[in-house]
């Protein structure tokens, strides 16, 4: 379905685009504050140890050192770093500093000094004696009886009523069932039961985490943070430090990418304490190495899928069992794990479904939110097993998907049963362009056509994966906006929504401009400053366009009503009814008479002439649904049978995101996500030694894709209209990261007949699997 718009659905230039390419974008680090101090964090060399003693005297005596913070001199307040709504569905198992360290890279002591060099010198002078404890690195071992207990403190808890058993390293558990899985599976003609493993990976935003704090002239604490969640950042900082919320202002300037890792409150507590202690501006910037080791990662997961199907291709039974590794702390431990089920299982029509999820603590780097949020890991397993089932039945893997995938008007019992820390919300699918995505992808990749390899020892293969995600967390997430009008007919658009490079300032300006009959050039967006913008949960769960977009739309509608009211109050429109008025070209127009009034005249009248008031409104929005975007990824690979090297020849990703408010930006989200997904599938990997030390914390040894690695990538936007979204929009940012692992794995199977069940698909791994097959 297509509707006509003026500003929406056009690729207007990104509102901050010229500023960014001119080098004018002001990021957290791009201000100079006189007298600014620097923080460096001493971290644990042990995966699991108790700090027996810590002596900071020598370090404190070093010239240029202002203060040193440890568990001995900073209040111990249980909290979570997960920047989620309150109360968070993540356990309060973290303290600003702790006596017990739980992974290599855990905080031990923060040095605040004149320069980073002095702070580093001082770190060497801190004497720490550790009682080293046995550590556990694999989640399967962690939940076995007799495993070392990682969170044995008494005061950790989860603030919502869900399973939490730290006494056996079980950080989260969920199980739900619809129908009767066991019976249906047993009665199926074809059964497949497989385990897949998704590995450690980091978000790698080009800007590592950074926070600068300072006391303002009224002695309030100002924090400039590279954050996706300014309001959660303010709340959690207040919780950790005891500073009241009213005395904290969090500013999100331009942000150099986040992808989930900046949905964490990682630096703010320490910076806040440092500002309180010194009264000076303080900066803490993570190095790339620290970003890899001590910030956040994707949750590595074992995902076991069982599918039972009939010979005619009907799926009878599906079971997903997830064992997720949250590392040393339980950030997003429950919700990432449950999202595996809730964003993957509903994709296929099936009455008998079981989901079982556990999240374990281990002495490994801490996982958190990462674009895809569990769906990436689960889709890998699911989409490989779906292909295997189809092959067992003897059906084409695309035909099998076409036959079984969810369609408009259908629901899934999983929607209702699995939510974020509670039951879900029942929903039926509104817009669904999945069939069109598949059709487009099949054509582009020439599905069914086997191409000859470029050399005799190479083999070609094609693979597919279909995917869905969501758009915001229904009944939980809230976004809001405030719009006010200026004398030149422009509007300030203030919102808590957090543009971290995603383009939401632009997209939300377009939505406001569309309602207000003007162009985005007359909208002045300002986002994410807790002193000036209304609340928003922040940039996560693929929510901004769908959720905050609706809030902006509602707010603009309110402003529009006020503009009509002023017009009626002004001479020429006295006799016109509101029903006949409309806004166009920054003017109020009337359908029956041909009079017009400019916005400028409207605002000047409202401000200076009669019954004066500020034309302005603030509206909030929560969603009752989380309409999924859909996509079908197709890929062609060539595998070298002599080396195991996988070459990606072509990658195809059409996506249904409802109305793309800004097509170029939506397409950019898709391409960025796809390439991140490919990078994860082919090269990205953490290496650890037997002591839990990550060995490759830099871009030379942790390889992310660069321009020379790019395959031919074809993306397109499939037109649908989501009735519940602003101008028909759904989300777009996350979904396309989920396709590369399964689509490439399926293509490798098609090429050389081996099923690789864990990433990345390195030459060694593929080669060994081929060798194994020959035996």
């Amino acid at each position: 379905m297509s509707k006509k718009f003026k500003v929406v659905k056009t690729s207007v230039e990104k509102v901050d685009g010229y500023s960014l390419v001119a080098g004018r974008g002001v990021f957290v680090d791009d201000i100079d504050l006189p007298g600014m101090l620097q923080i460096k964090m001493l971290t644990s060399p042990h995966a699991h140890a108790v700090i027996k003693s810590i002596n900071i005297k020598k370090a404190e005596a070093l010239e240029g050192v202002h203060t040193i913070m440890t568990h001995e001199n900073v209040p111990r307040i249980p909290h979570t770093t997960a920047g989620q709504g309150f109360p968070e569905p993540s356990p309060y198992d973290t303290y600003t500093f702790r006596r017990k360290v739980r992974f290599v890279g855990d905080r031990v002591a923060a040095v605040v000094a004149e320069t980073e060099e002095i702070a580093e010198e001082a770190m060497k002078l801190i004497e720490v004696e550790y009682d080293v404890l046995p550590a556990v690195f694999d989640p399967k071992d962690a939940i076995k009886e007799g495993a070392p207990i990682i969170h044995d403190e008494e005061d950790c808890y989860i603030p919502i009523p869900v399973a939490y058993e730290p006494e056996r390293n079980l950080c989260a558990h969920v199980d739900v069932e619809a129908g009767d899985f066991d019976k249906a599976y047993a009665e199926s003609d074809v059964q497949v039961d497989r385990e897949y493993y998704s590995h450690y990976a980091q978000h790698c935003p080009m800007e590592p985490h950074i926070c600068i704090g300072y006391p303002d002239e009224n002695d309030r604490l100002v924090l400039r943070v590279s954050t996706q969640v300014p309001f959660h950042s303010r709340r959690i900082t207040a919780q950790c430090t005891g500073i009241p919320i009213r005395k904290i202002r969090v500013i999100k300037p331009r942000i150099g990418g986040g992808f989930g890792t900046k949905q964490e409150v990682l630096l703010e507590d320490v910076v806040a304490f440092a500002v309180m202690r010194t009264g000076r501006p303080v900066r803490w910037a993570l190095t790339r190495k620290e970003e890899f080791i001590s910030s956040r990662t994707r949750h590595p997961q074992y995902v076991n899928i069982k599918i039972g199907a009939n010979k005619d291709g009907k799926i009878n039974a599906m079971e997903m069992k997830v064992l997720s590794n949250t590392g040393a702390y339980g950030s997003h431990a429950l919700t990432v794990m449950s999202n595996c089920g809730s964003k993957v299982l509903p994709l296929y029509r099936c009455k008998n479904i079981r989901f079982w999820g556990d999240t374990a603590y281990t002495n490994m780097p801490v996982a958190g939110a990462y674009r895809g949020y569990g769906a990436t890991q689960a889709a890998f397993a699911m989409e490989c097993v779906i292909s295997e089932v189809a092959q067992k039945i003897g059906m084409d893997t695309v035909e099998f998907r076409k036959m079984n995938h969810i369609k408009s008007g259908e629901g899934s019992p999983i929607f209702e049963k699995l939510g974020e820390g509670k039951e879900g919300v029942p929903q039926t699918i509104g817009s669904c362009g999945l069939a069109e995505c598949i059709e487009w992808g099949e054509k582009e990749i020439e599905w069914g056509k086997k191409n000859p390899p470029s050399e005799p020892h190479k083999r070609r293969g094609k693979g597919v994966a279909i995917l869905m995600q969501g758009s915001s967390v229904p009944e939980i997430d809230m976004g809001s906006a405030f719009i006010k009008m200026n004398e030149d007919g422009s509007f300030n658009l203030l919102m808590g929504a957090t543009d971290l490079g995603t383009g939401s300032d632009t997209v939300l300006s377009q939505i406001a401009a569309e309602v207000l009959g003007t162009t985005e050039k007359f909208i002045i967006p300002y986002s994410s400053d807790t002193d000036f913008t209304p609340f928003d949960v922040g940039a996560y769960a693929s929510s901004t366009t769908y959720l905050t977009g609706s809030a902006v739309l509602k707010t603009a509608e309110k402003v529009k009503e006020q503009i009509f009211g002023v017009a009626q109050n002004m001479g020429p429109f006295k006799d016109c009814s509101v029903d006949e008025m409309y806004l166009e070209d920054a003017q109020v127009k009337c359908k029956t008479c041909d009079k017009t009034i400019s916005f400028s005249d409207i605002c000047n009248f409202a401000m200076y002439a009669k019954d004066q008031f500020q034309i302005a409104a603030c509206e909030s929005h929560i969603t009752h649904k989380s309409p999924p975007p859909f996509t079908a990824h197709f890929v062609e690979v060539e595998v070298d049978t002599m080396t195991g090297k996988v070459d990606l020849l072509k990658y195809v990703a059409p996506v249904d995101c409802g109305t793309p408010i800004n097509p170029i930006l939506a397409d950019g989200q898709t391409q960025g996500a796809v390439v991140n997904g490919i990078s994860f599938a082919l090269t990205e990997e953490y290496f650890f030694n037997e002591k839990g030390v990550m060995l490759n914390p830099d871009f030379n040894n942790y390889k992310i894709l660069s321009t020379v690695d790019m395959p031919e990538l074809k993306t397109t936007l499939i037109d649908t209209y989501e009735e519940t979204g602003p101008f028909g929009a759904k989300s777009v940012s996350e979904i396309s990261i989920n396709g590369a692992l399964p689509a490439i794995a399926n293509a490798i199977y098609d090429a050389v007949g081996v099923r690789i069940n864990n990433g990345p698909f390195t030459p060694e791994k593929v080669y060994m699997a081929m060798k194994e097959l020959k035996k």
Partner: protein, 153 residues
Amino acid sequence: MELKLNINDKLHVLDIEPGDLLVDVLRKSGYKSVKIGCREGTCGTCTILLNGNAVNSCLVFAADCEGASIHSVESLGTMAEPHPLQEAFVKHGATQCGYCNPGSLLSAKALLNEKPDPTEEEVKEALDGNLCRCTGYVKRIEAILAASKKMRS
């Protein structure tokens, strides 16, 4: 020690320490477009033009640059009058967070100075060191090819 640098065609006399890195000296002198993503020469966000060559300024000692000519992205164009590369980056959607843009624009500039009509492969080679986690590179490559075309006509 004293250092003379020609930054964006203006002579600067700077007071530096012998061990100062060029990236820090430039940022301290107000050229904040020079970004830091790794300090290890692996991400390209600190790319500048040093005597016309694209280099990672985090790997260069400022003291070694006496008398050198340096260009940061501020020299390319302004918001009101952008360079064709900058304009193409915006028009083709090659800017998302923008953190990688100053560096990648300068690598592209160095390329086009050498080769006004590069092939797609040459663009990929020249930009290999400028990582971008947001865009997936497709639009960046398109933008550079489009700008080169525009600059030639």
